[in-house]
Amino acid sequence: MSKPEQDVALDYQQLVEENAELKRSLEALEQDQLAAYQMQHRLLPTNLTLVEGFRLNYLLQPALHLSGDFLDFWSPQPNKLVFYIADVSGSGSASALVTILLRYLLKKYTSQGELSPAELCARVNKELLASGLEKHITLVLGCLDIPTKKLNYTLAAHLPVPLIVGENEVKELEGEGLPVGLFPGAAYKDYTCTFPEQGKLCMASDGVLEVLPGQGLQARQQEWQQLVAATGGDVETLLQRLANPQVGWPDDVTLMTLSGC
């Protein structure tokens, strides 16, 4: 073998080794992501749970392994049901960590007896800003009083706006509010409505808007409302209508419904 040939052979050998090393690193990272995904997944509520006569149905489809979307549903006191859907800015591991922090804070505050959604948002806002994590959250947070079917809720800049599916109509939950973790001293407002008999509350993350046709936010929100009206807000049917196997999911996509039984 001539000198240049020897050099080429050496370079080739080195590339093979480096390639194998990169593959090992990538596998280790993937394993790590998968473990974190499983952990995040275990923190989600059990799907199709029935709590105090209300059924939760959801689907959480992360764009990567880990999701910046999260949701929960639990009963902190008899006759009370607290639920939320959240979308943390950004995506991937860093945002997923914030979903876990959010879950922890909300469980803690509600266990201390705080049930006003607006007050809960104000406290999380303060905590998140103080943490300096530089992440904000859009959120729908509600508290249902089971005997009276009275729903207290607050909206923190979450899109699409949650939809109430009644017997004959689908309408948006009224209200507005600032995202959580962005503006110091942000004030939130509690809104009230009555949960419709045999009705449904249909929520989603903004990833849903990205897979819908139409130009612009307003047009896509209208599409979303029409789709919910056409499917009665059924999660499985919505999923079938939204999925596009060619494109996949461009962003974290979450669907969540709460049905009165």
Partner: protein, 168 residues
């Protein structure tokens, strides 16, 4: 969509930031560093964010823009302005509550001449009162109808400018 780009300029005491194309996470580190530098610059006392050529903003970018308003307010500066002729982007900004923290404008600034002319929020209460009075006097002089409509307002304002006005 076009890959995102950040453009910036400083004109006297005003900092202008223009976001072009599809602005995403990948640019956020650059933007974050840029903001650090801007807030260290004591000469700057007003901000204009131009979104007239922005196609899309992701949530992280929105978070950084919000930081400009938060920082400006804690430094005692005027509310930053955002120029957003794109209705869809304006809708997104409004859904995030930006109208409370920014002055949202529709029309883009096209010449550097106009950039200098952006009014600064300044002046004492007296100064503002005088301006309001002046504006209403001008309105009154425009036609008879205005004269009737604004007469009582002007009268009240004039009374308020007197030294014996209870507010003074």
């Amino acid at each position: 969509m076009h890959t995102g780009k950040l453009l910036s300029a400083k004109s006297q005491h005003t900092f202008i930031l223009k976001l072009v194309g599809d602005v995403r996470l990948t640019l956020c580190c650059t933007l974050d560093k840029l903001l650090e530098r801007i807030f260290a610059d004591k000469e700057i006392n007003s901000f204009i964010i131009d979104l007239s050529q922005t196609e899309n903003l992701d949530s992280t970018t929105l978070g950084l823009l919000a930081k400009i308003a938060v920082q400006a307010s804690s430094n005692g500066l005027a509310q930053p302005s955002i120029i957003s002729p794109n209705q869809d982007i304006t809708l997104l900004l409004e859904s995030m509550g930006f109208r409370q923290y920014f002055i949202l404008l529709k029309q883009p600034l096209t010449t550097s001449q106009e950039l200098h002319e952006v009014p600064q929020l300044a002046g004492s209460e007296e100064h503002i009162k005088a301006q309001v009075l002046d504006a209403h006097l001008t309105l009154m002089s425009m036609n008879e109808r205005n004269k009737e409509v604004f007469k009582s307002v002007v009268q009240a304002l004039e009374e308020c400018s007197e030294p014996d006005c209870p507010e003074n």
